[in-house]
């Protein structure tokens, strides 16, 4: 996977719009506080992230995502995944 951060962000914004009806969330917005984005949504998002990065996440990698609160943190998470797997 060779996605730039901008590409990751754009893809996430699309996923949030299409899958979670959240339009253009701010990159620092607390997703839980602002948009009622809860742990169930996080699990759904992980499936989309798997499709984005092109490989299945391990249980450990998934657990690490459970503390994520902002879009910026989701971008960091995806970049780290890619770096770990490269």
């Amino acid at each position: 996977m060779q996605l730039t951060r901008r590409e990751i962000l754009n893809d996430l914004i699309r996923i949030f719009r299409e899958n979670f009806e959240i339009d253009n969330p701010g990159t620092d917005d607390d997703l839980r506080e602002e948009y009622e984005f809860d742990s169930i949504d996080a699990i759904e998002l992980l499936v989309e992230i798997e499709k984005m990065v092109g490989f299945a996440l391990t249980q450990e990698e998934k657990k690490q995502a459970m503390d994520i609160r902002t879009l910026d943190q989701v971008c960091d998470y995806i970049e780290n995944l890619a770096a770990t797997r490269d």
Partner: protein
Amino acid sequence: MERRVVITAGSVITPIGHVKDEIIQNLINGVSGVKALRKDDLLANYIHSNVFGTVDYPIEYDFKRSHRKTMGPVAYYACQVVKEILKQAALDDDFISSGRLGVSFGSTHGSPTVQRDMYRNFFSGSQDQFSSVSAVDYLKSMVHTTAVNITKMFGITGRLISSSTACTTSSQSIGLGYEMVKYGMQDAMICGGADEYDTTTVAVFDNLLACSTAFNDTPHLTPRPFEVRRDGLVVGEGGGAVLLEEYERAKKRGTNIMAEIIGFSCNNNGGNLILPDVEGTKETLRLGLKSAKIRADEVDFISAHATGTKMGDVIEAQAIHSIYDNSPYITSLKSYMGHTMGTCGVIEMVLTLYMMEKGFIAPTLNLNEIDKRCAMIRHVTELCESDIRVAAIQNFAFGGVNTCLIMKKI
């Protein structure tokens, strides 16, 4: 401690309408909600019965995404009717979340639509490693999905009961909710049931040769409860809810009281899981009257379970005659919409409440020539004006489960 329990709100989604006035008009005008079975890419082409009690009109849902994400079609019906009864009853928010309001609500088997999608994924042979079961599939499809989506949407924190006893699901839900309030464990209960469009249910009854097949080209002419040409039941869909409140509390609030529930019985045939049982049925009716502390001749109207099957209608007629002689008026409301499965009890209760309020009894549709074996009871064959003071709602289910709810105008 035994407390009086009253019905203070009711709402239904049925094949003959959703809005109260529309439903009443359709009962008065003899309009059937049975139409052609909707096509699907699964079973519809293999089922002999091509009729269904269909909710084919648009319903304007405005549920938030945070609620919708755990809801299958069955929960949409459930939450919509509950939203409407909460609006009717105007309960204050503090009471709703006080722990003194509970929910008793069920469905036949959760959401078969969602379950089907899950298993389609399992058995598709797909090698897609990301197409795992969704985090919300279970929440959408589980057997108590209606009850807990209701509590989630409205912030209800009291007792939760989720009956899933096929055709007695909602009547049992109402009965168990009634007992919660009667014996002081809750001050109010939201009760009811829902079932979504599902061809697998039709297939089950079709396989058992219990579905109507002779009227595929004229769906409105079936089912035909108690009639000589009846040839089986028609599966339907819908949802319904009633709010039960402790009488003194309801009176103090000054809210509208539709009727008082005065009795409930529930028993089991203790034997065959499919065939109707006259002794078990009679016992239910007897226990219902005993619970209500009234005589048989005090009941003005019976909403019969009467699905239109060959044997079920005969057994029910025999049981009614044995307990009631030919005293109360009898109607099968399923003749208007087919058998809405887990929803039928609450729909039949709410439609009976409408008739009690408006002073009429709708006849059993398509009852042109009464089967001699069912003729010993007092069938309603034409629309009639009648002041129903006491009504009984009877329902029977696969598994040998029987219920009887008795309510009284106050």
